[in-house]
Symmetry: C3
Subunit: 336 residues, 3 copies
Amino acid sequence: MRRVARALYEETRDLPIVSPHGHVDPRILAENAPFSEPASLIVQPDHYILRLLYANGVPLEALLKSEPRRVWQLFAEHYYLFRGTPSGAWLDYELNEVFSIRSSVSAETASPIYDQISEKLQSPEFRPRALFERFNIEVLATTDAATDRLEHHCAIRESGWKGRVIPTFRPDALFKISSPGFDALGARDYSGLVRAIADRRAYFKQLGATATDHAVLEPYTAALPEEEAERLFQRARQGEATPDDERRFTAHLLMEMARLSLADGLVMQIHAGALRDHNRAVFERFGPDMGGDIPVATEFTRNLRPLLNAYGNDPRFTLVVFTQNARVSSLNPAVL
Amino acid sequence: MRRVARALYEETRDLPIVSPHGHVDPRILAENAPFSEPASLIVQPDHYILRLLYANGVPLEALLKSEPRRVWQLFAEHYYLFRGTPSGAWLDYELNEVFSIRSSVSAETASPIYDQISEKLQSPEFRPRALFERFNIEVLATTDAATDRLEHHCAIRESGWKGRVIPTFRPDALFKISSPGFDALGARDYSGLVRAIADRRAYFKQLGATATDHAVLEPYTAALPEEEAERLFQRARQGEATPDDERRFTAHLLMEMARLSLADGLVMQIHAGALRDHNRAVFERFGPDMGGDIPVATEFTRNLRPLLNAYGNDPRFTLVVFTQNARVSSLNPAVL
Amino acid sequence: MRRVARALYEETRDLPIVSPHGHVDPRILAENAPFSEPASLIVQPDHYILRLLYANGVPLEALLKSEPRRVWQLFAEHYYLFRGTPSGAWLDYELNEVFSIRSSVSAETASPIYDQISEKLQSPEFRPRALFERFNIEVLATTDAATDRLEHHCAIRESGWKGRVIPTFRPDALFKISSPGFDALGARDYSGLVRAIADRRAYFKQLGATATDHAVLEPYTAALPEEEAERLFQRARQGEATPDDERRFTAHLLMEMARLSLADGLVMQIHAGALRDHNRAVFERFGPDMGGDIPVATEFTRNLRPLLNAYGNDPRFTLVVFTQNARVSSLNPAVL
């Protein structure tokens, strides 16, 4: 097993990285400012780390609101919890290979390691773009709201830097017609909404986008009659859409997204099966993406059938369906 | 792992093959005519092969409607796609062991391999019955519609050939009371239908059948009051049965099949969990069994409880439940 | 794999056993009488053994109603069925390590092995408490009905013996408000029931309990308004509660149990996913726990969300959720 894994790694380690999906903030590469220090770089933005620490009794307040060196100390004191987890393998690799840290992380070594990393982060070779090049990244796709003006992507293009960073069109918020903050892109009727979405897709494509991305609990797809889509849209504009309206509207808009993909060639990606913000108290105090998501069993076969029967046999259409791998997820132990 | 697999294989390789379920056409063994050429023998009837090729962009028209040598060429050009799949292991074995093909299959070798196989197929030792004997098949069970006259099974028996080929009673079509082509075996009432089914079972048994086989999406079982079964049957005769009627009628008839098994001793087999003809366009152009089936999660515990509580403790009753193994199926990569 | 397993075993084999959940009858350790003979010790109380034998055609009557030596003979004749199963590994270990049986179990060796074990069972070192000490058990938690007077636990404490045997509070029967034998602990209203439960918890805790345990099919949790809980309780007292009432009442009482755990510190354990008494004929003739339970797919994420959102962020609360591991269960082959 390990022998096969090593052989595969040897054959692939020198290939460039093509990253089709991720959550790197493009501002980092647009501004290319030094990362400030280890806690805000490694601990605080990683919901896998936050979750495992919280599950073992470390208060989120202490991790998110303390002075950085204190956060790092807490993280180091609990570093043993990550042994044998995917996050642990990732962290070991990052500290060893990227930051040349040779001592193991613990309460005692926390402070000197903090200083070592902080010092490195101030040097030119640890600037974001330098790391991008060192990691041999051929292309990095970010994930961006449909309404995003993409000013950081513009800035990267205009800067003359050669790194290829492209946006991905994520219109989830436009589908949430029962949410208070529903934004219809200024459209007054349903066909106006679809036109506005098509315009946004064109803008994203102009800045290099090759794909859209859709996060849903269930990948439910179903076409509505045009007048029913219109009716739901008008209910949404008046703030009267129900969660069931939203479910049907989303199912219909996913069909529309597939149809638009035939025309503009953007690959369609679906992320299904993450139940978001399961822990209400954590969500209310700290917001989303703080370790409160849980994978749930998801039905793909029946749910995607309408979309695939409508567009799946067209050679212009490419659909990538991401699943939550419960076996891998469960290696990162965490409480419900 | 491999060592254990090899040891198991060594211990079992000389045992005869007992094939309790399969889809070999008995006509092949009744007529014992030479197979005509490789494409219609190996590529076109195999929905796993069709599906993987189609999923990689090869049009089904090209695979099903082209001249045979062209079909084989297309298959050979994409042979690398089967690496590491169960179908690939099967194909490698078949070409190597059965046809003594020593070169690997590719665009370049397609034509000479086609000729080699074609030539072999014309020799006496590649006639169907000769292969049956070479493969050391002790018994081969086919799968046959309840209405089948079994003339090929009769012909095999009358031919004096000693190969044991037996039918299996598959009455699925008789349960589909909401289908336009529903055939009631000439019965005018429900008890007449059950009598007609029992007669057909007796006929199958006379020709060697040892089992029935039932393909269902969910193995739902539930007894109906006699008068309700009658009512559903009459609705079916008038073409008024709904899909829900069919679901309940099927659940009831599965109970009846178990009851008849107690009397005639036929083993009851259930195949559950294949969602048929998922790809509507493929189904409409090319019909069933063209790679459009997908395994779905299936509930057995509650669904089979009524049947097992009614008949499962009777030592005369044998039930074999086939499941769709999603882990093995998923090794044969294919699009939804 | 085996090397890792052996290394782990070597590191842990000398540690004491801490058994947080099990079904040992405390009377055995209170009375400390010799076990009478092998069949009633090893075969008859083990529903895994009964089930596999029954699935292979051995009548339960023969296993449960025959003379002990005959039961042992039947067991020995079918001992080969346990090869490669978890039960088989367990049995091999028990016979080898505990009883020093060196011959393998079969029809021929059944009788001498029966005699060897019987003889050993009469010696002082095979008394229950001697085995408890030999097995290096630090603490053993039993599972006890909420209404249990715990006289055996009292007797153990008063006996002066130092073995630590503690009760676990299992109030399932109090939640079954649609069962004919529903026992409300003498309460006249809902708040009286909760007070009575709290009293019983305190009594269990006094005798060493550190946990509660709840067996449910689905771990459904949901708070009811106080007056709705009262209404359901009154329906229960009048014998009018329906299964749906029971489902909602149980969901609410699980919330109450979590709330009481905050106060008294008892760890809350949930066992979900066993469909009990699937085989009705076996249940009616022989009662529960005779091999008729089947694991079913269970939803935890949505079902436990109300309970976790109400109490899960409180550091005083500890919840242990046991799942049915279908992969391990399926290694013990058995009929539905």
